[in-house]
Each structure stands twice: as structure tokens, then as C-alpha cells.
Amino acid sequence: MPTSSASFEDLFHRVRQDYGQLWDFKLRGKTLEIITPHSTTTDKFVSVFLVAQDGDFVVSDGGFLAHGNYIETDMGESVCYNRMFEHLEVHYEIKQIMDTVGTLIYYKKTNEAARVSSLVLDVASFITGAVNASQVAFVPANEVAARRRFTGQANTYMREIFARREIRFNSRINDDIKTKYSVVLRHRTKVSLVSYVTGSDEYYFSNSISKANMGFELLVGTPVSDLINHRVALVDDVSAGYQAGAFAGHLRVLRKTCPVVLWSQKDELHSILESD
């Protein structure tokens, strides 16, 4: 264990030397690839690409972000990810350009050789941030799994009891209304709507109640409200979220908007949705 400032200084020099050894380069045509010591949560070292153009210096990601070179599996787009990406783009003042084969390249440009190092730091930090943000599971895996399980069970049940009716899942009523409903059930010229309420914990469960309520309330007073026959919330009362929380109050509010059917009493669905 070092105790004197002298041995700490030795360690510092070791750290700086080890770090320094991480830098590397490869010449690629007129472009210099610089492998930096910046690393991502996907265990890649970030490369930036330096090229000169009419007395300017350009430092880019070489199209590696667009080609998914830093990630194994695409995490899919999400609003949160897009906001983080925008923040990084704005903060590091990153520009983008599409090349002639359709690759989007992110870059910074300067006419001063002395600023190149600063650009390398900015572009490498931008790449690290963007790659790491893409790996965040904004919705926990158990929530995704629980929701998929309930949706699967409920869809199967709906298909069984309304085998001879036109039924669509996770759909819009028409193009004017952006909200999607778990079930859109056609009944001659009208439709009935069902929203599934579930959640792997209290937070996601109460969100799900609010979302169902809002989805139905949004239709009040709109031209499509005349098209709606029934609106029902189907509540997953065997979910971990339902059992963890006390939702009597929430469900009382929801009942002012629409009938609430518990999954354990799902037989009620048929009579509600078939009534006139």
C-alpha cells in the first residue's frame, strides 16, 4: 500500500503510461483512424477518423455509429434514447452528413491544427455517450416480459370469445386518433374498445391505470365518440403490480370512465361487450 507521495507519483506515472498505450492508429486511404482510450459499455474502444479537406481538419465517427459497429443487438428506438442523443449532439456541437452510399457520418470540423485534439475529445465523448445510451433498458426486462405475458393471454381469450367478430389488437380507431387501444372490436358500424391494465410493480401498474383512463377520456366530445359502443378496462388482478399496491382509489376513478373487469372475473366481458 503506497503511503508516501513519491510512490503515489510512481503509480500516477504508471496510470498515465498505461493509458497512453491505449492510443493507436491505422492509415485508411487519405483518412487516419485514431483508436482512443475511450471505451463503451459494450466493451469497445472508440475510433475517430481524421481527414484534411482544403486546409480544414475533419474528425468523424467514420459511419461506425450508423453501421452499428459498437453494438451487438439493436435496442430499438425510444423517446428517451432520442432525447439523450440530441443532448449529446447539441452539447458537443456535432454535425452530420449523408455520404453517397447512404451512410450517416457524424463529425466536427476546424481550420486550426491546434484544435484537432479538442475535436477528438468531443467526437470520442459523443460516440461513447451515444453508444452507452443505446444500451440502457428504459423499461425493465421483467416489466416487458410481464406485459407480453398478460397481453398474450388476454388476446387469446378475446379471440376465443369473439371468434366471429372483427377484432384488432393494439390498434387505432382511425387515422385521426393517435392513441392505440389493446382491443378494437367491430360491432356493425360501431366499435367497442378494451384497454388492458397490468404492471410488474406498483409504478407500472398505476401508470397503466392512468393510461387506460386517459385513452378513454380523450375520446369524449370528439367526432369518433359517436362510433364507440362500449369501453372496458380489463385489469390483470393476478399481476405482481396489482397485488403489491392498494389501487381501490385508482380503480374508483377509472370506474367513473368505464366498466372495470378483473381478469379473475373475465366472464363478465362477454355480456358487457355483447349488450346494446
Binding site: L22, G29, T31, K44, F64, N69, T100, T103, Q135
Partner: protein, 192 residues
């Protein structure tokens, strides 16, 4: 905490058997004349792989960037077993960091390299002996030669001929030009 592939960690014996035991492919070879999705420059194909004693659904996937022919990947996938490839070869692209290694400079594994998982389910990169020899590496930038190395490393055999032929273009079309270490800015008209 680092991302751990629990499927590999909990089924390590089966995982290593899938990679290390003999496997075979058959047919005309790898046809890389077709685009992958909407991407203009990425071509891809897959052919089924038969494992010597595991009846699992197994695939060999090849991908190549036709604007820089030294940039290609081979992947071995078992979709019913795990989502990520069991093992892959990256001829180009970013340097991998093996965090399990103590000394920081030794954590670097540049491309070309193979990726697989260790016993703890950590994704690691490694170089086979030929991949540490710069002259051999230059030869292996040719996908026709590299596929032989990939077949040896993953204990694959192709029927017939031992390893598959690779076609990059549809019959009757001109071959793509081969640029070694192609410039990633080659198709940029002008940075503004």
C-alpha cells in the same frame, strides 16, 4: 455491474460443445449478392449448419460491406438457444476491451478478432495465432481465404470441397473493386 450472458454461464458445457464439436454445411456456398434489408452497401446471407450431436437449429451468417470488401463478419447463431451470436468473426471495426485482464494495455484486442463468451458469460475477444501475424492478416482480408480460417476455428466442414465458395455478385455482373483498408470518408462529397 457488467452485462453477463446468463444463458452461456448456466449452459456453458452445451455452449462450448456447440462451438468446439464438428459441424457441417452443404450446398453451393455463401451467396453474398443480396442486400441486407434497406442498407445500400451491406450484403448478407445465411446457411444452415448441422451439428454432429446436438439437433439444435444452427446457422452460419456472413455479412460484407460491398464498398469495402475487407469489412466482413461471420457469425454462428442458434436462435432457439440465445439471441446474440454464439461466436463471431469481425474483420474490421472497433477494438474490443477484455476487462477481465489485469493490465490495461493488455485489455486491447484490435480487429480482426473473434468474439465469444467465457465461462462467466462475459463477452470476450481473442486473436488466433494467424491473426497476430501482420502478413497473414493481410491475406485474411480476402473473404475467400478468411472463410477457410473461420471454418477451421469453428470446426466446420463444407460438403463438398471442405469450405464454401463465396459469390459477391449475381452471375453476369461485374465484380466489386477491392480496396484494402478503404477510406471511411471515400463516399463523402464534401464536409460542410
Amino acid at each position: 455491474m457488467k452485462k453477463i450472458n446468463t444463458i452461456v454461464r448456466d449452459n456453458y458445457e452445451r455452449y462450448t460443445a456447440l462451438i468446439a464439436e464438428p459441424k457441417r454445411t452443404a450446398g453451393p456456398g455463401l451467396d453474398l449478392s443480396q442486400k441486407k434489408g434497406t442498407n445500400k452497401v451491406l450484403h448478407a446471407c445465411q446457411i444452415p449448419v448441422i451439428h454432429s450431436d446436438d439437433p439444435i437449429d444452427l446457422w452460419l451468417i456472413a455479412e460484407i460491406r460491398i464498398d469495402r470488401l475487407h469489412d466482413f463478419k461471420f457469425k454462428l447463431r442458434a436462435p432457439s438457444f440465445m439471441g446474440e451470436p454464439l461466436l463471431n468473426y469481425d474483420s474490421a471495426g472497433p477494438t474490443h476491451r477484455n476487462e477481465g485482464v489485469t493490465s490495461l494495455p493488455e485489455q486491447i484486442v484490435t480487429t480482426p478478432h473473434f468474439n465469444c463468451y467465457d465461462q462467466q458469460g462475459r463477452r470476450i475477444a481473442y486473436k488466433t495465432a494467424p491473426l497476430t501475424n501482420p502478413e497473414v492478416v493481410r491475406e485474411l482480408e480476402d473473404i475467400d481465404r478468411c472463410v477457410i480460417h473461420f471454418y477451421e476455428e469453428t470446426r466446420l466442414t463444407h460438403d463438398p470441397a471442405g469450405y464454401p465458395a463465396i459469390s459477391l455478385t449475381a452471375p453476369g455482373t461485374l465484380p466489386f473493386a477491392h480496396h484494402t483498408n478503404a477510406d471511411p470518408h471515400a463516399h463523402v462529397v464534401r464536409f460542410v
